[in-house]
């Protein structure tokens, strides 16, 4: 008796044909899939692929901003913020405090307003002026470019952020302030638009870090 196929079921010949097609497609597409894997945010490869080299190159440019005094003056290894392009210890003996906003009686907001003081020597300002918190110090001083890259991609050292979550931080008024720092303060070497382009390029190509 001839077997009868029920609707919605493949016979074995058809199943073999479809499986073969899928396998062939996977082989053909493998290089493409690997390239795309390296572009998933937070996915870093060690393949030495062109995407990784591009990612590393992009971060080198990002690092020129992160290592500029406008960023480094608050991303310090101790609890004392710095001031100026010479990165001297903050006057008034200011300290980080547990929440990164100073000690009672000497809070950041006691002097720093939501915008820069108009006079040279007056306090710079931006909304939510602060340092990194004491339990997440995000300390960048003394790090090589590769070490800095690994520090800001490590959730244990970057404030529990995924790599993709770095973008919103880069858009905060405090970070953007670095490009409107007020009188007698230099700006980072890239424009803000160039910086963000390189940050996105670095992340989109796998957020790779040099050794």
């Amino acid at each position: 008796m001839k077997s009868r196929e029920r609707p919605g079921h493949f016979n074995s010949t058809a199943l073999l044909a479809v499986s073969g097609a899928i396998a062939l497609a996977a082989i053909v597409m493998l290089p493409v899939l690997l390239t795309n894997a390296a572009q998933v945010p937070g996915f870093a490869t060690n393949s030495g692929a062109p995407g990784q080299e591009r990612s590393i190159a992009a971060f080198r440019e990002v690092a020129t901003v992160l290592q500029h005094p406008r960023c480094m003056n608050c991303h310090v290894v101790d609890d004392r913020p710095r001031q100026g392009d010479d990165r001297h210890i903050h006057l008034q003996n200011v300290r980080r405090g547990p929440d990164g906003k100073g000690l009672p009686g000497l809070r950041c907001s006691n002097c720093h307003q939501d915008s820069n003081h108009e006079s040279a020597g007056g306090p710079p300002g931006a909304v939510d002026w602060q340092m990194p918190k004491a339990d997440e110090p995000l300390a960048w001083e003394g790090l090589s470019v590769g070490e800095l890259c690994r520090a800001i991609t490590d959730p244990k050292r970057n404030g529990h952020r995924r790599v993709a979550d770095l973008i919103p931080h880069m858009k905060t008024s405090l970070v953007v302030w670095a490009w409107t720092p007020g009188p007698e303060r230099t700006k980072p070497p890239l424009s803000y638009e160039q910086f963000m382009t390189k940050v996105r390029e670095w992340i989109d190509t796998g957020a790779a870090c040099e050794k």
Binding site: G105, C111, E118
Partner: protein
């Protein structure tokens, strides 16, 4: 701060009273207090938040009123040296007199206002803790040792109460 901003009506709660003024919102709080409200206890020192002579309380924080736009204080609680106590008998003021802290006296209202915030958060500060917080207030007469002693004395008389 932009001095070309239009005049606005702003209400501050100063030393327990609501005070409404028509003012350029970028005008420093210090000059509103001194010129518009005739509260001259807070002093102009550097005008750059460097010295602390202008220190007043804004919602309990020791802000430098010379760089604080009055718009920031709108609807908020401002305390000046004149409002620290009704009869000038705050523990800090009494300690300042007992220890004879001032020499010229110009910076002392700012010193006391910062010390009040310190004791509110730390009723028994050590010397190091006093130095750490009070280092934002400069005294050109060099009365720092007496300031420290007066803060300890006030802390003792307050019995740990903030």
């Amino acid at each position: 701060m932009n001095s070309d901003e239009p005049i606005k009506s702003i209400t501050l709660h100063v030393n327990g009273s609501a005070r409404t003024i028509n003012v350029d919102p970028s005008k420093p709080l210090l000059w509103v207090l001194r010129e518009d409200l005739q509260l001259t206890g807070a002093k102009f020192g550097c005008g750059l938040a460097q010295c602390g002579a202008c220190t007043v309380h804004l919602d309990g924080e020791a802000v430098r009123s010379c760089v604080t736009p009055v718009a920031r204080a709108a609807g908020r609680k401002v305390i000046t040296i004149e409002g620290l106590s009704a009869e000038h008998n705050n523990a800090l003021q009494e300690a300042w007199i007992a220890v004879q802290v001032p020499q010229c006296g110009y910076c002392q209202t700012g010193q006391i206002m910062s010390a009040a915030v310190l004791l509110a958060s730390n009723p028994h500060p050590s010397d190091a803790e006093i130095d750490r917080v009070m280092s934002g207030n400069i005294c050109r007469c060099g009365t720092y040792d007496r300031i420290r002693r007066a803060i300890h004395r006030a802390a003792e008389s307050m019995g740990g109460r903030s």
